[in-house]
Symmetry: C2
Subunit: 142 residues, 2 copies
């Protein structure tokens, strides 16, 4: 995608670098879109963990003028079904401690953060992404 297209979903292009082409080329069977006619209005990039029975949701984006209609949950539900069929025992997703929108969304669909509360009261896994790089790590048992 272009950075303009990314911004139509995320409000900025800050997530551009984690839209890595491997998500389509190597994990294309867990990449899904919802279209309105020809236009992609929501998408999910996921994969199955190589080291555990885990369905991992890497990115879920909904075009800004289509948010609030349940499209994100619809994609999650679809991936969840697939993960169950693959024998996964849990779902997993991560976000940054400052991304309140993402934290709210994941809690709403029943994913819970593991780890311990940081100074702001947000449950994080310390140094998850390297020294000083805490992350909110959501899990849901299937």
């Amino acid at each position: 995608m272009t950075s303009t297209e990314i911004a139509a979903f995320w409000g900025s292009d800050r997530t551009l670098s984690i839209h890595h082409p491997m998500l389509l080329h190597e994990f294309g069977n867990t990449a899904f879109v919802i279209r309105d006619k020809d236009k992609v209005i929501a998408y999910l990039f996921g994969f199955f963990s190589q080291t555990g029975k885990t369905g991992y949701v890497h990115l879920i984006g909904v075009r800004q003028d289509y948010q609030g209609q349940g499209l994100g949950k619809q994609l999650y539900d679809h991936f969840t079904q697939l993960a169950k069929q693959q024998g996964c025992s849990k779902l997993k997703a991560i976000t940054t401690p400052g991304n309140h929108h993402s934290i709210f969304f994941h809690r709403k669909i029943g994913m819970n953060p593991v780890g311990e509360k940081n100074e702001q009261g947000i449950e994080v896994v310390k140094n998850y992404s390297g020294p000083g790089q805490d992350r909110v790590v959501f899990e849901k048992q299937l």
Copy 2:
């Protein structure tokens, strides 16, 4: 890793954002390091494709003052053996058309670009990473 640590391997922190924690947390059984005493001097992050019998090398980094000693090739060889054991029929890696160091390295270890020549004579796969985002896509049959 921190951006300072990344720069000790890559000369800058331009690759920081593709050192995603999933490479360790979800694909840890194809993440390898070489150490000199306690210090990591080279590493490889790979995974097996979910959609084909492909061993995919995502990142290979050698600390700058240890380059030119064959550590990168040693890591590739290790991953190659593992990929063969897993029944993979090919290896794959990608880079950007402007990364001459990476193109030289991959050619030297016997990986060949697929695709067609661009205006600079470099074989690329057009739009591999989105509109206008050509990539050099290396493959090696196993």
